[in-house]
Amino acid sequence: MREKRDNHLLEVENLRTYFPIKKGLLRRTVGYVKAVDGISFAVKKAQTLGLVGESGCGKTTAARSIVRLTDARAGSIVFGQRDVLSAGAEELRRLRREIGMVFQDSYSSLNPRMTIGDIVGEPLKVHRAAAGSEVTERVAELLKKVGLSPEHINRYPHEFSAGQRQRIGLARALALKPKLVICDEPVSALDVSIQSQILNLLKDLQEEFGLTYLFIAHDLAVVEFFCDIVAVMYMGRIVERGSARQVYRNPLHPYTKALISAIPQAGAARRGRFFSNRSCFFAK
Protein backbone atom coordinates (compact mmCIF):
# COMPACT_ATOMS: atom_id res chain seq x y z
CA MET A 1 0.00 0.00 0.00
CA ARG A 2 2.55 2.49 1.17
CA GLU A 3 4.70 3.82 -1.57
CA LYS A 4 8.32 3.41 -0.62
CA ARG A 5 10.28 6.43 -1.60
CA ASP A 6 14.00 6.13 -1.56
CA ASN A 7 14.71 9.63 -0.47
CA HIS A 8 12.63 9.26 2.68
CA LEU A 9 14.88 8.70 5.66
CA LEU A 10 12.10 8.35 8.20
CA GLU A 11 8.54 7.32 7.59
CA VAL A 12 6.05 7.24 10.41
CA GLU A 13 2.65 5.82 9.71
CA ASN A 14 -0.37 5.82 11.94
CA LEU A 15 1.75 5.82 15.08
CA ARG A 16 -0.20 5.37 18.30
CA THR A 17 1.34 5.57 21.75
CA TYR A 18 -1.08 5.09 24.61
CA PHE A 19 -0.40 5.15 28.31
CA PRO A 20 -2.65 2.92 30.41
CA ILE A 21 -4.53 4.44 33.33
CA LYS A 22 -4.45 1.97 36.18
CA LYS A 23 -6.79 2.11 39.11
CA GLY A 24 -7.84 0.16 42.14
CA LEU A 25 -6.14 -2.42 44.29
CA LEU A 26 -5.45 -4.78 41.41
CA ARG A 27 -4.11 -1.96 39.21
CA ARG A 28 -6.54 -2.80 36.45
CA THR A 29 -6.36 -0.77 33.28
CA VAL A 30 -9.46 1.36 33.14
CA GLY A 31 -8.56 3.45 30.11
CA TYR A 32 -5.80 5.03 28.12
CA VAL A 33 -4.21 8.42 27.71
CA LYS A 34 -3.87 8.69 23.97
CA ALA A 35 -0.65 10.68 23.90
CA VAL A 36 -0.02 10.02 20.24
CA ASP A 37 -3.13 9.01 18.35
CA GLY A 38 -2.38 7.94 14.82
CA ILE A 39 0.14 10.37 13.36
CA SER A 40 1.84 9.94 10.00
CA PHE A 41 4.68 11.89 8.49
CA ALA A 42 7.82 11.39 6.46
CA VAL A 43 11.16 13.17 6.54
CA LYS A 44 13.35 13.38 3.47
CA LYS A 45 17.12 13.18 3.66
CA ALA A 46 18.82 16.45 4.62
CA GLN A 47 15.45 18.01 5.33
CA THR A 48 14.07 19.46 8.55
CA LEU A 49 10.63 18.52 9.75
CA GLY A 50 9.18 20.68 12.48
CA LEU A 51 6.69 19.20 14.89
CA VAL A 52 4.82 21.99 16.65
CA GLY A 53 2.04 22.13 19.16
CA GLU A 54 1.26 23.14 22.70
CA SER A 55 2.69 21.46 25.79
CA GLY A 56 1.26 17.99 26.30
CA CYS A 57 0.07 17.48 22.74
CA GLY A 58 2.29 14.44 22.26
CA LYS A 59 5.28 15.84 20.37
CA THR A 60 7.87 14.51 22.78
CA THR A 61 6.11 11.16 23.10
CA ALA A 62 6.15 10.85 19.32
CA ALA A 63 9.90 11.53 19.28
CA ARG A 64 10.55 9.09 22.12
CA SER A 65 8.52 6.44 20.30
CA ILE A 66 10.75 6.79 17.24
CA VAL A 67 13.84 5.74 19.22
CA ARG A 68 11.74 3.34 21.28
CA LEU A 69 12.32 5.10 24.58
CA THR A 70 8.55 4.74 24.89
CA ASP A 71 6.79 1.72 23.48
CA ALA A 72 4.34 2.47 20.74
CA ARG A 73 1.06 0.58 20.69
CA ALA A 74 0.44 0.48 16.97
CA GLY A 75 1.61 1.86 13.67
CA SER A 76 4.84 1.60 11.78
CA ILE A 77 8.11 3.47 11.83
CA VAL A 78 10.51 2.88 8.98
CA PHE A 79 13.98 4.34 9.29
CA GLY A 80 16.21 3.90 6.26
CA GLN A 81 14.21 0.88 4.99
CA ARG A 82 14.29 -0.76 8.44
CA ASP A 83 11.31 -1.33 10.66
CA VAL A 84 11.97 0.28 14.04
CA LEU A 85 9.06 -1.11 16.03
CA SER A 86 9.85 -4.76 15.32
CA ALA A 87 13.64 -4.42 15.73
CA GLY A 88 15.32 -6.81 18.16
CA ALA A 89 17.79 -5.69 20.82
CA GLU A 90 20.85 -5.74 18.56
CA GLU A 91 19.05 -4.17 15.62
CA LEU A 92 17.73 -1.47 17.94
CA ARG A 93 21.25 -0.71 19.13
CA ARG A 94 22.35 -0.24 15.51
CA LEU A 95 19.33 1.96 14.82
CA ARG A 96 20.05 4.11 17.84
CA ARG A 97 23.56 4.57 16.56
CA GLU A 98 22.15 6.28 13.50
CA ILE A 99 19.67 8.47 15.36
CA GLY A 100 21.05 11.23 17.57
CA MET A 101 18.91 12.93 20.15
CA VAL A 102 19.11 16.38 21.69
CA PHE A 103 17.00 17.03 24.75
CA GLN A 104 15.18 20.07 26.01
CA ASP A 105 16.65 20.19 29.48
CA SER A 106 20.36 20.48 28.89
CA TYR A 107 21.03 20.34 32.61
CA SER A 108 19.37 17.06 33.47
CA SER A 109 20.35 15.36 30.22
CA LEU A 110 24.05 15.53 31.07
CA ASN A 111 25.29 13.21 33.81
CA PRO A 112 26.49 15.50 36.61
CA ARG A 113 29.17 13.05 37.77
CA MET A 114 30.82 12.72 34.38
CA THR A 115 33.24 15.06 32.68
CA ILE A 116 32.44 16.57 29.31
CA GLY A 117 34.99 14.25 27.74
CA ASP A 118 33.25 11.22 29.21
CA ILE A 119 29.80 12.46 28.25
CA VAL A 120 30.64 13.14 24.62
CA GLY A 121 32.91 10.09 24.33
CA GLU A 122 30.45 7.66 25.93
CA PRO A 123 28.49 6.87 22.72
CA LEU A 124 31.80 6.11 20.98
CA LYS A 125 32.76 3.72 23.74
CA VAL A 126 29.34 2.06 23.90
CA HIS A 127 29.43 1.33 20.17
CA ARG A 128 33.17 0.67 20.14
CA ALA A 129 33.50 3.31 17.45
CA ALA A 130 36.78 4.48 18.92
CA ALA A 131 39.20 3.39 21.61
CA GLY A 132 41.93 4.86 23.77
CA SER A 133 43.36 8.18 22.68
CA GLU A 134 41.19 8.10 19.57
CA VAL A 135 38.18 8.85 21.78
CA THR A 136 39.85 11.95 23.18
CA GLU A 137 40.75 13.13 19.69
CA ARG A 138 37.22 12.62 18.42
CA VAL A 139 35.75 14.38 21.45
CA ALA A 140 38.06 17.36 20.99
CA GLU A 141 37.08 17.51 17.34
CA LEU A 142 33.37 17.36 18.20
CA LEU A 143 33.71 20.06 20.84
CA LYS A 144 35.38 22.29 18.29
CA LYS A 145 32.59 21.60 15.82
CA VAL A 146 29.93 22.80 18.25
CA GLY A 147 31.91 25.88 19.18
CA LEU A 148 33.41 24.82 22.50
CA SER A 149 37.05 24.73 23.45
CA PRO A 150 38.61 21.24 23.66
CA GLU A 151 40.37 22.42 26.80
CA HIS A 152 37.13 21.96 28.69
CA ILE A 153 37.21 18.23 28.22
CA ASN A 154 37.83 17.61 31.92
CA ARG A 155 35.18 19.96 33.22
CA TYR A 156 31.82 19.00 34.60
CA PRO A 157 28.40 20.03 33.25
CA HIS A 158 27.58 22.32 36.17
CA GLU A 159 30.48 24.56 35.19
CA PHE A 160 28.82 25.54 31.91
CA SER A 161 26.02 27.90 30.94
CA ALA A 162 22.74 26.59 29.54
CA GLY A 163 23.73 27.39 25.97
CA GLN A 164 27.08 25.69 26.35
CA ARG A 165 25.45 22.65 27.90
CA GLN A 166 23.11 22.42 24.94
CA ARG A 167 26.19 22.46 22.68
CA ILE A 168 27.63 19.59 24.71
CA GLY A 169 24.36 17.68 24.23
CA LEU A 170 24.62 18.36 20.53
CA ALA A 171 28.23 17.15 20.40
CA ARG A 172 27.13 13.93 22.10
CA ALA A 173 24.28 13.48 19.62
CA LEU A 174 26.70 13.93 16.71
CA ALA A 175 29.42 11.65 18.12
CA LEU A 176 28.31 8.59 16.18
CA LYS A 177 27.77 10.50 12.92
CA PRO A 178 24.03 9.92 12.90
CA LYS A 179 21.82 10.31 9.84
CA LEU A 180 18.85 11.66 11.76
CA VAL A 181 18.97 14.03 14.71
CA ILE A 182 15.86 14.36 16.82
CA CYS A 183 15.87 17.74 18.54
CA ASP A 184 13.34 17.72 21.34
CA GLU A 185 12.76 21.41 22.00
CA PRO A 186 16.49 22.13 22.00
CA VAL A 187 16.09 25.88 22.35
CA SER A 188 12.92 26.40 24.37
CA ALA A 189 14.78 26.52 27.68
CA LEU A 190 17.28 29.08 26.42
CA ASP A 191 17.44 32.85 26.24
CA VAL A 192 16.42 34.31 22.92
CA SER A 193 19.95 35.42 22.06
CA ILE A 194 21.35 31.98 22.84
CA GLN A 195 18.47 30.40 20.93
CA SER A 196 19.59 32.00 17.70
CA GLN A 197 23.17 30.87 18.26
CA ILE A 198 22.11 27.26 18.74
CA LEU A 199 19.76 27.39 15.75
CA ASN A 200 22.50 28.79 13.56
CA LEU A 201 24.86 26.12 14.79
CA LEU A 202 22.27 23.44 13.97
CA LYS A 203 21.93 24.86 10.46
CA ASP A 204 25.67 24.95 9.94
CA LEU A 205 26.04 21.37 11.08
CA GLN A 206 23.21 20.31 8.79
CA GLU A 207 25.02 21.83 5.83
CA GLU A 208 28.32 20.30 6.82
CA PHE A 209 27.17 16.75 7.55
CA GLY A 210 23.98 16.56 5.49
CA LEU A 211 21.94 15.92 8.62
CA THR A 212 18.24 15.30 8.71
CA TYR A 213 16.38 16.89 11.59
CA LEU A 214 13.17 16.12 13.33
CA PHE A 215 12.72 19.36 15.16
CA ILE A 216 10.24 19.64 17.98
CA ALA A 217 9.20 23.05 19.19
CA HIS A 218 6.30 25.03 20.47
CA ASP A 219 7.61 28.30 19.17
CA LEU A 220 6.25 28.90 15.70
CA ALA A 221 8.68 31.69 14.91
CA VAL A 222 11.59 29.32 15.53
CA VAL A 223 9.98 26.68 13.37
CA GLU A 224 9.32 29.02 10.50
CA PHE A 225 12.97 30.03 10.48
CA PHE A 226 14.35 26.57 10.89
CA CYS A 227 12.13 23.99 9.21
CA ASP A 228 11.31 22.99 5.65
CA ILE A 229 8.13 21.12 6.48
CA VAL A 230 5.90 21.77 9.46
CA ALA A 231 3.44 19.40 11.08
CA VAL A 232 1.11 20.91 13.65
CA MET A 233 0.07 18.57 16.43
CA TYR A 234 -2.96 18.97 18.61
CA MET A 235 -4.16 16.43 21.18
CA GLY A 236 -2.09 13.58 19.80
CA ARG A 237 -2.97 14.15 16.16
CA ILE A 238 -1.40 16.04 13.30
CA VAL A 239 -3.96 18.63 12.30
CA GLU A 240 -2.09 20.40 9.55
CA ARG A 241 1.00 19.78 7.51
CA GLY A 242 2.77 21.67 4.79
CA SER A 243 5.82 23.72 3.97
CA ALA A 244 6.83 26.08 6.74
CA ARG A 245 6.02 29.13 4.66
CA GLN A 246 2.63 27.80 3.62
CA VAL A 247 1.52 26.90 7.11
CA TYR A 248 2.77 30.13 8.56
CA ARG A 249 1.29 32.41 5.90
CA ASN A 250 -1.90 30.61 5.22
CA PRO A 251 -2.97 28.42 8.15
CA LEU A 252 -6.03 26.31 7.40
CA HIS A 253 -6.86 24.53 10.65
CA PRO A 254 -8.38 26.70 13.39
CA TYR A 255 -5.82 25.44 15.90
CA THR A 256 -2.95 26.50 13.65
CA LYS A 257 -4.59 29.89 13.26
CA ALA A 258 -4.83 30.19 17.04
CA LEU A 259 -1.19 29.22 17.41
CA ILE A 260 -0.05 31.77 14.88
CA SER A 261 -2.20 34.52 16.32
CA ALA A 262 -0.51 33.85 19.65
CA ILE A 263 2.89 34.93 18.34
CA PRO A 264 3.65 38.35 19.77
CA GLN A 265 4.37 40.86 17.05
CA ALA A 266 6.40 44.01 17.09
CA GLY A 267 4.11 46.95 17.46
CA ALA A 268 1.14 44.78 18.32
CA ALA A 269 1.01 46.00 21.88
CA ARG A 270 0.66 49.57 20.68
CA ARG A 271 -2.23 48.53 18.52
CA GLY A 272 -3.81 46.94 21.56
CA ARG A 273 -3.64 43.38 20.27
CA PHE A 274 -0.97 41.96 22.46
CA PHE A 275 -2.84 42.46 25.69
CA SER A 276 -6.29 41.93 24.29
CA ASN A 277 -8.76 39.98 26.38
CA ARG A 278 -9.69 37.67 23.58
CA SER A 279 -10.89 34.38 25.00
CA CYS A 280 -9.74 30.97 23.86
CA PHE A 281 -10.21 30.39 20.19
CA PHE A 282 -12.02 27.12 20.78
CA ALA A 283 -14.31 28.49 23.48
CA LYS A 284 -16.35 30.42 20.97
Partner: protein, 322 residues
Protein backbone atom coordinates in the same frame (compact mmCIF):
# COMPACT_ATOMS: atom_id res chain seq x y z
CA UNK B 1 31.47 34.52 6.33
CA UNK B 2 27.86 34.78 7.21
CA UNK B 3 26.78 36.75 10.19
CA UNK B 4 25.91 33.89 12.49
CA UNK B 5 29.39 32.44 12.32
CA UNK B 6 30.59 35.56 13.95
CA UNK B 7 28.06 35.14 16.75
CA UNK B 8 29.16 31.59 17.50
CA UNK B 9 32.67 32.73 18.17
CA UNK B 10 31.47 35.26 20.70
CA UNK B 11 29.81 32.56 22.76
CA UNK B 12 32.81 32.36 25.00
CA UNK B 13 33.87 29.19 26.80
CA UNK B 14 33.62 29.25 30.61
CA UNK B 15 35.39 32.29 31.86
CA UNK B 16 37.87 31.95 34.64
CA UNK B 17 36.02 34.30 36.94
CA UNK B 18 36.47 33.98 40.67
CA UNK B 19 33.22 32.11 41.05
CA UNK B 20 34.14 29.75 38.28
CA UNK B 21 37.45 28.83 39.82
CA UNK B 22 35.89 28.20 43.19
CA UNK B 23 33.53 25.71 41.58
CA UNK B 24 36.13 23.89 39.52
CA UNK B 25 36.21 20.12 39.72
CA UNK B 26 33.55 17.51 40.14
CA UNK B 27 30.66 17.35 42.56
CA UNK B 28 32.67 15.00 44.75
CA UNK B 29 35.51 17.42 45.10
CA UNK B 30 32.97 20.16 45.77
CA UNK B 31 31.40 18.14 48.58
CA UNK B 32 34.72 17.17 50.12
CA UNK B 33 35.85 20.77 50.05
CA UNK B 34 32.72 21.75 51.95
CA UNK B 35 33.41 18.96 54.40
CA UNK B 36 36.98 20.17 54.86
CA UNK B 37 35.67 23.51 56.09
CA UNK B 38 33.87 21.90 59.04
CA UNK B 39 36.40 21.86 61.85
CA UNK B 40 34.45 19.60 64.20
CA UNK B 41 33.91 17.05 61.45
CA UNK B 42 37.61 17.08 60.65
CA UNK B 43 38.47 16.54 64.33
CA UNK B 44 36.08 13.58 64.38
CA UNK B 45 37.67 12.24 61.22
CA UNK B 46 41.05 12.40 62.97
CA UNK B 47 39.63 10.38 65.88
CA UNK B 48 38.17 7.80 63.50
CA UNK B 49 41.46 7.53 61.61
CA UNK B 50 43.24 7.05 64.94
CA UNK B 51 40.98 4.10 65.77
CA UNK B 52 41.54 2.61 62.32
CA UNK B 53 45.30 3.06 62.58
CA UNK B 54 45.28 1.40 65.98
CA UNK B 55 43.30 -1.55 64.63
CA UNK B 56 45.58 -1.84 61.62
CA UNK B 57 48.64 -1.59 63.81
CA UNK B 58 47.47 -4.43 66.06
CA UNK B 59 46.75 -6.56 63.01
CA UNK B 60 50.31 -5.96 61.78
CA UNK B 61 51.76 -6.59 65.23
CA UNK B 62 49.94 -9.89 65.37
CA UNK B 63 51.17 -10.82 61.92
CA UNK B 64 54.83 -10.06 62.62
CA UNK B 65 54.85 -10.86 66.35
CA UNK B 66 55.86 -7.38 67.47
CA UNK B 67 56.02 -7.31 71.27
CA UNK B 68 54.07 -4.03 71.60
CA UNK B 69 51.84 -3.10 74.54
CA UNK B 70 48.40 -4.17 73.36
CA UNK B 71 49.84 -7.48 72.19
CA UNK B 72 50.98 -8.25 75.72
CA UNK B 73 47.54 -7.89 77.29
CA UNK B 74 47.80 -11.39 78.73
CA UNK B 75 50.77 -10.46 80.91
CA UNK B 76 50.23 -9.71 84.52
CA UNK B 77 50.63 -5.99 84.94
CA UNK B 78 49.90 -5.74 88.60
CA UNK B 79 47.80 -7.10 91.42
CA UNK B 80 44.29 -8.28 90.76
CA UNK B 81 41.77 -5.38 90.69
CA UNK B 82 44.33 -2.68 91.32
CA UNK B 83 42.62 0.69 90.74
CA UNK B 84 43.73 3.20 88.13
CA UNK B 85 47.04 4.72 89.08
CA UNK B 86 50.40 5.76 87.77
CA UNK B 87 51.43 2.18 86.93
CA UNK B 88 48.23 1.14 85.22
CA UNK B 89 46.25 4.10 83.93
CA UNK B 90 43.02 2.15 83.70
CA UNK B 91 43.83 -0.30 86.50
CA UNK B 92 43.82 -4.08 86.22
CA UNK B 93 41.17 -6.78 86.02
CA UNK B 94 40.67 -9.98 87.97
CA UNK B 95 43.78 -11.63 86.53
CA UNK B 96 45.90 -8.55 86.99
CA UNK B 97 45.87 -7.81 83.26
CA UNK B 98 46.13 -4.19 82.18
CA UNK B 99 42.70 -2.80 81.26
CA UNK B 100 44.34 -0.22 78.98
CA UNK B 101 45.98 -2.92 76.90
CA UNK B 102 42.73 -4.85 76.70
CA UNK B 103 40.83 -1.75 75.62
CA UNK B 104 43.36 -0.97 72.91
CA UNK B 105 43.25 -4.54 71.70
CA UNK B 106 39.44 -4.38 71.69
CA UNK B 107 39.60 -1.68 69.03
CA UNK B 108 40.99 -4.23 66.60
CA UNK B 109 38.02 -6.58 67.08
CA UNK B 110 35.40 -3.84 66.86
CA UNK B 111 36.85 -2.06 63.84
CA UNK B 112 37.49 -5.30 61.97
CA UNK B 113 34.00 -6.60 62.59
CA UNK B 114 32.31 -3.30 61.70
CA UNK B 115 34.41 -2.80 58.57
CA UNK B 116 33.95 -6.33 57.24
CA UNK B 117 30.24 -6.31 58.06
CA UNK B 118 29.82 -2.95 56.29
CA UNK B 119 31.62 -4.15 53.20
CA UNK B 120 29.54 -7.32 53.09
CA UNK B 121 26.29 -5.43 53.49
CA UNK B 122 27.28 -2.92 50.78
CA UNK B 123 28.37 -5.70 48.44
CA UNK B 124 24.96 -7.33 48.80
CA UNK B 125 22.70 -4.32 49.28
CA UNK B 126 23.95 -1.97 46.56
CA UNK B 127 23.71 -4.29 43.53
CA UNK B 128 20.41 -5.77 44.72
CA UNK B 129 18.90 -2.34 45.34
CA UNK B 130 20.12 -1.02 41.99
CA UNK B 131 18.76 -4.03 40.10
CA UNK B 132 15.41 -3.89 41.91
CA UNK B 133 15.06 -0.15 41.31
CA UNK B 134 16.07 -0.25 37.69
CA UNK B 135 14.24 -3.32 36.42
CA UNK B 136 11.15 -3.06 38.66
CA UNK B 137 8.43 -5.62 37.93
CA UNK B 138 8.95 -9.19 39.02
CA UNK B 139 12.65 -8.78 39.94
CA UNK B 140 11.76 -5.85 42.16
CA UNK B 141 8.93 -7.81 43.79
CA UNK B 142 11.24 -10.70 44.65
CA UNK B 143 13.98 -8.49 46.11
CA UNK B 144 11.51 -6.36 48.07
CA UNK B 145 9.89 -9.51 49.38
CA UNK B 146 13.24 -10.87 50.59
CA UNK B 147 14.23 -7.69 52.39
CA UNK B 148 10.79 -7.11 53.83
CA UNK B 149 10.89 -10.59 55.29
CA UNK B 150 14.38 -10.06 56.71
CA UNK B 151 13.52 -6.69 58.17
CA UNK B 152 10.36 -7.99 59.84
CA UNK B 153 12.46 -10.22 62.12
CA UNK B 154 13.80 -8.43 65.22
CA UNK B 155 17.37 -7.43 64.41
CA UNK B 156 19.19 -8.75 67.47
CA UNK B 157 17.37 -12.08 67.32
CA UNK B 158 18.28 -12.41 63.66
CA UNK B 159 21.96 -11.72 64.27
CA UNK B 160 21.94 -14.11 67.22
CA UNK B 161 20.41 -16.85 65.10
CA UNK B 162 22.88 -16.27 62.27
CA UNK B 163 25.84 -16.24 64.64
CA UNK B 164 24.77 -19.42 66.34
CA UNK B 165 24.29 -21.12 62.97
CA UNK B 166 27.56 -19.86 61.50
CA UNK B 167 29.75 -20.47 64.54
CA UNK B 168 32.24 -23.28 64.24
CA UNK B 169 31.00 -24.14 60.78
CA UNK B 170 33.56 -24.60 58.10
CA UNK B 171 33.17 -22.95 54.73
CA UNK B 172 35.49 -23.96 51.87
CA UNK B 173 37.63 -25.83 54.36
CA UNK B 174 38.07 -22.80 56.62
CA UNK B 175 36.67 -23.03 60.09
CA UNK B 176 34.78 -19.88 60.94
CA UNK B 177 36.43 -18.42 64.00
CA UNK B 178 34.33 -16.45 66.47
CA UNK B 179 34.98 -13.08 64.89
CA UNK B 180 34.36 -14.25 61.30
CA UNK B 181 31.00 -15.67 62.25
CA UNK B 182 30.14 -12.37 63.90
CA UNK B 183 30.85 -10.14 60.92
CA UNK B 184 29.31 -12.58 58.47
CA UNK B 185 26.17 -12.65 60.59
CA UNK B 186 26.00 -8.87 60.87
CA UNK B 187 26.80 -8.33 57.19
CA UNK B 188 24.34 -10.91 55.91
CA UNK B 189 21.49 -9.47 57.94
CA UNK B 190 22.04 -5.75 57.64
CA UNK B 191 22.13 -5.12 53.88
CA UNK B 192 18.40 -4.36 53.98
CA UNK B 193 18.80 -0.69 54.89
CA UNK B 194 21.29 0.20 52.17
CA UNK B 195 19.40 -1.92 49.63
CA UNK B 196 16.17 -0.04 50.31
CA UNK B 197 17.93 3.33 50.09
CA UNK B 198 19.63 2.51 46.80
CA UNK B 199 16.45 1.09 45.32
CA UNK B 200 14.61 4.32 46.07
CA UNK B 201 17.39 6.48 44.67
CA UNK B 202 17.67 4.42 41.49
CA UNK B 203 13.92 4.64 40.92
CA UNK B 204 14.26 8.40 41.24
CA UNK B 205 17.20 8.62 38.84
CA UNK B 206 15.92 6.12 36.30
CA UNK B 207 13.70 8.65 34.54
CA UNK B 208 16.21 11.50 34.68
CA UNK B 209 17.31 13.06 31.42
CA UNK B 210 20.84 11.70 31.45
CA UNK B 211 19.58 8.11 31.72
CA UNK B 212 17.14 8.69 28.86
CA UNK B 213 19.96 10.22 26.84
CA UNK B 214 22.18 7.19 27.50
CA UNK B 215 19.33 4.91 26.41
CA UNK B 216 18.80 6.96 23.27
CA UNK B 217 22.31 6.29 21.99
CA UNK B 218 22.05 2.60 22.71
CA UNK B 219 23.80 2.25 26.05
CA UNK B 220 23.21 -1.16 27.63
CA UNK B 221 21.18 -1.56 30.81
CA UNK B 222 24.03 -2.77 32.99
CA UNK B 223 26.26 0.03 31.85
CA UNK B 224 23.50 2.50 32.65
CA UNK B 225 23.04 1.06 36.14
CA UNK B 226 26.70 0.79 37.10
CA UNK B 227 28.31 3.59 35.14
CA UNK B 228 25.60 6.22 34.98
CA UNK B 229 23.19 5.82 37.88
CA UNK B 230 25.35 4.36 40.66
CA UNK B 231 27.96 7.16 40.68
CA UNK B 232 25.05 9.56 41.10
CA UNK B 233 23.61 7.77 44.11
CA UNK B 234 26.83 6.55 45.67
CA UNK B 235 27.03 9.39 48.16
CA UNK B 236 24.03 7.75 49.83
CA UNK B 237 26.10 4.59 50.33
CA UNK B 238 28.99 6.50 51.87
CA UNK B 239 26.75 8.42 54.24
CA UNK B 240 24.89 5.27 55.19
CA UNK B 241 28.20 3.49 55.72
CA UNK B 242 29.47 6.11 58.14
CA UNK B 243 26.29 6.02 60.21
CA UNK B 244 25.78 2.27 60.07
CA UNK B 245 29.36 1.62 61.15
CA UNK B 246 28.37 2.70 64.66
CA UNK B 247 25.50 0.26 64.71
CA UNK B 248 27.87 -2.53 63.69
CA UNK B 249 30.31 -1.66 66.48
CA UNK B 250 27.39 -1.85 68.89
CA UNK B 251 26.18 -5.13 67.40
CA UNK B 252 29.60 -6.66 67.95
CA UNK B 253 29.63 -5.41 71.52
CA UNK B 254 26.21 -6.92 72.15
CA UNK B 255 27.21 -10.27 70.66
CA UNK B 256 30.44 -10.37 72.66
CA UNK B 257 28.52 -9.40 75.77
CA UNK B 258 26.23 -12.37 75.17
CA UNK B 259 29.26 -14.60 74.76
CA UNK B 260 28.76 -15.20 71.04
CA UNK B 261 31.63 -13.13 69.74
CA UNK B 262 35.35 -13.45 70.11
CA UNK B 263 36.06 -15.53 73.20
CA UNK B 264 39.85 -15.94 73.23
CA UNK B 265 40.81 -12.30 72.95
CA UNK B 266 39.53 -9.23 74.77
CA UNK B 267 36.85 -7.15 73.11
CA UNK B 268 34.80 -4.26 74.42
CA UNK B 269 31.67 -6.37 74.72
CA UNK B 270 33.50 -9.10 76.62
CA UNK B 271 35.04 -6.46 78.92
CA UNK B 272 31.62 -5.06 79.74
CA UNK B 273 30.43 -8.59 80.37
CA UNK B 274 33.32 -9.14 82.82
CA UNK B 275 32.65 -5.80 84.47
CA UNK B 276 29.07 -6.82 85.23
CA UNK B 277 30.25 -8.91 88.17
CA UNK B 278 32.96 -6.47 89.18
CA UNK B 279 30.69 -3.46 89.58
CA UNK B 280 29.15 -4.80 92.78
CA UNK B 281 32.65 -4.94 94.26
CA UNK B 282 33.21 -1.31 93.35
CA UNK B 283 35.56 -2.13 90.48
CA UNK B 284 34.35 0.36 87.89
CA UNK B 285 37.40 0.91 85.72
CA UNK B 286 36.99 -1.92 83.23
CA UNK B 287 33.40 -0.84 82.53
CA UNK B 288 34.39 2.79 82.16
CA UNK B 289 37.34 2.06 79.88
CA UNK B 290 35.33 -0.08 77.46
CA UNK B 291 32.35 2.29 77.48
CA UNK B 292 34.56 5.32 76.93
CA UNK B 293 36.23 3.67 73.95
CA UNK B 294 32.83 2.91 72.41
CA UNK B 295 31.48 6.35 73.30
CA UNK B 296 34.30 8.27 71.67
CA UNK B 297 34.17 6.19 68.49
CA UNK B 298 30.36 6.39 68.24
CA UNK B 299 30.29 10.11 68.83
CA UNK B 300 33.01 10.78 66.27
CA UNK B 301 31.33 8.57 63.68
CA UNK B 302 27.93 10.15 64.24
CA UNK B 303 29.15 13.72 63.99
CA UNK B 304 31.28 12.89 60.98
CA UNK B 305 28.43 11.00 59.29
CA UNK B 306 26.13 13.95 59.79
CA UNK B 307 28.65 16.37 58.34
CA UNK B 308 29.26 14.00 55.45
CA UNK B 309 25.55 13.94 54.66
CA UNK B 310 25.31 17.71 54.82
CA UNK B 311 28.26 18.10 52.48
CA UNK B 312 27.51 15.41 49.93
CA UNK B 313 23.73 15.48 49.73
CA UNK B 314 22.82 18.19 47.24
CA UNK B 315 19.32 18.54 48.66
CA UNK B 316 20.53 19.61 52.09
CA UNK B 317 23.26 21.84 50.77
CA UNK B 318 21.42 25.13 50.55
CA UNK B 319 19.32 24.92 53.69
CA UNK B 320 22.12 23.87 56.00
CA UNK B 321 24.69 26.29 54.73
CA UNK B 322 22.52 29.35 54.73
Amino acid sequence: MSEHRHIIKTDAPPTSSVEDRSRGGGLWRDGLRRLGRRKLAMACLAVIILYFLLAGFIHLAELFDWPVGPMRWQEEAGKSYSPPGSKNIFGTDMFGQSVLRKTLYGAKISITVALCASLISIAIGVPLGAIAGYFRGFTDDVIVWIYSTLSSIPYILLILAFTVVLRDRSIFGHKLAGITAVYLAIGLTSWVGVCRLIRGEVIKHKDRGYVQAALSYGCGRWRIIFRHILPNVFHVVIIDFSLRFVAFVHAEVILSFLGLGETNNPSWGAMINDARMELSRGVWWQMVAATAAIFVLSLALNIFGDALRDSLDPKLRITRES
